[in-house]
Amino acid sequence: MNFDVRLVLEVIGMLLYATFMGFIFMGIERKAMARIQRRVGPPIYQPIIDTLKLLGKKESISHGFIYDFGPIFALGASITALLFLPLANFQLFSSNADLIVVAYLLEVPMLGIMLGAMSSGNPYSALGVQRGLLTMVAMQLPYGLAIIAIVQHFGTFKLGEIVALQQVHGWSILVPALLLAMIVFDIVFQAMIGLEPFDIITAPAEISMGPMLEYGGKQAAILFTQHAVQLFAETAFFAILFLGGASNLLELLIKQIAVLFIAIFVASIYPRFTIDQAAKFFWKWPTIIGIIAVLLTV
């Protein structure tokens, strides 16, 4: 890896853009929910204000080294996942890692949050950890099947090539098997970004925010930033895999927002599952559809 000024500039620009857009996505989420609930809703940049406020807290507490390290690690991992995605015409580091690496990197932040939550020693947080991990166990099978279907259809692991092939042969979802995979992935996506019916991890009425519970001030600000970056990366990941990627950032943005809106609509009409119901659900229909999808693409 030679030092490449252009790459560095691209990376910094993309980080700023992704963080900002991630916050805006969170704002869109809140605003759209509010509109569905017949309210005016907060301004669209509200999450930025919230994060600034949390960062500007004059006091901060710690339950130990890992408690502080967890959010930092989570944000670092989210940034890493983001930079290995080919975002529109910015390839960034995406030639260095492929689909499997990115799919893994997108899960690493979860471990960071869980590390921090566990070390706080709060039973509610521990329940959040339990639920988070079990959601992951539950969703991993359909998630893996959707990814396998993609890879088997395109015959490559490289995200760049997947995008290029979609540019030539049309979007993935035009292929029936991959449409099934997309449906599976969309259900999983709901759990990945923590919206109903799979917001089991935070579940305010049950475990009062779960892993986030003991965090306040700057750690919470870091977690919010992490969520923004993660939201951007995950919507981009969806767009790259199934919606033909994008040739410029605007196209990517439109696709991301489309993905986001589907998630919001689903979230606003479904209540929350309990964790064992979620596991059973994921291992029933999404898995069956996923298996059909992979068998169609063998």
Partner: protein, 196 residues
């Protein structure tokens, strides 16, 4: 537990943000998260505030169950000693800067329950208060007005109950201990060991 913890909390030096302080102040004003603790009958006016008719989320106000992230503590109505203990504990979990708004006449002077043996008469003897709204029960508009008042006070820096709590900690602590007795935290905590 309580003695040691509270010493820490008083000796702790607050961070001063020199350059970005105005930005943060603006952010604090625009994003007040309410600790989800409805302490009295005023809690019933919270849902209308959060929903279509009044919708305080327009101003960035949002209920949040986690006290560590909360900014604004709404004392929504009369406070019994049993609740006051929890209020104090929750308040000390919150991180500075934090604000308290009392809601209705009961926390101000006992209100309807002026002669009740189980209602705290003067809330500001035990915790510092930024804004008080009178009325029984105050209408949702009055609550909104109170919150606007807090926003204004944050903007000009006069919402300083958290500072007062640190400075006059001895006074508040004395009043709390007078009401509940020394070592009430441990006593309250141990009370359930027999049944669990």
């Amino acid at each position: 537990m309580s003695e040691k913890k509270n010493d820490d909390f008083i000796s702790y030096e607050l961070q001063e943000f020199k350059l970005f302080e105005p930005l943060f102040r603006w952010a604090r004003k625009k994003s007040l998260w309410i600790v989800a603790f409805c302490t009295g009958c005023g809690g019933i006016e919270m849902p209308p505030l959060a929903t279509a008719r009044y919708d305080f989320e327009r101003f960035g106000i949002m209920p949040n169950p986690a006290p560590r992230m909360g900014d604004l503590f709404l004392i929504t109505g009369y406070v019994t000693p049993k609740t006051l203990k929890r209020i104090i504990i929750t308040y000390e979990l919150m991180q500075d800067p934090k604000y308290i708004m009392i809601h209705g006449s009961c926390p101000i002077n006992g209100g309807v329950y002026w002669d009740s043996y189980n209602v705290v008469k003067q809330f500001d003897k035990y915790l510092p208060v930024d804004v008080a709204i009178a009325g029984c029960m105050p209408r949702a508009e009055a609550v909104m007005d109170g919150i606007m008042e807090i926003m204004r006070k944050i903007e000009d820096g006069t919402a300083d109950s958290w500072k007062r709590y640190r400075e006059n900690y001895e006074y508040y602590r004395k009043n709390q201990d007078e009401l509940f007795g020394e070592g009430w935290r441990e006593k309250e905590a141990r009370r359930w060991l027999a049944w669990i």
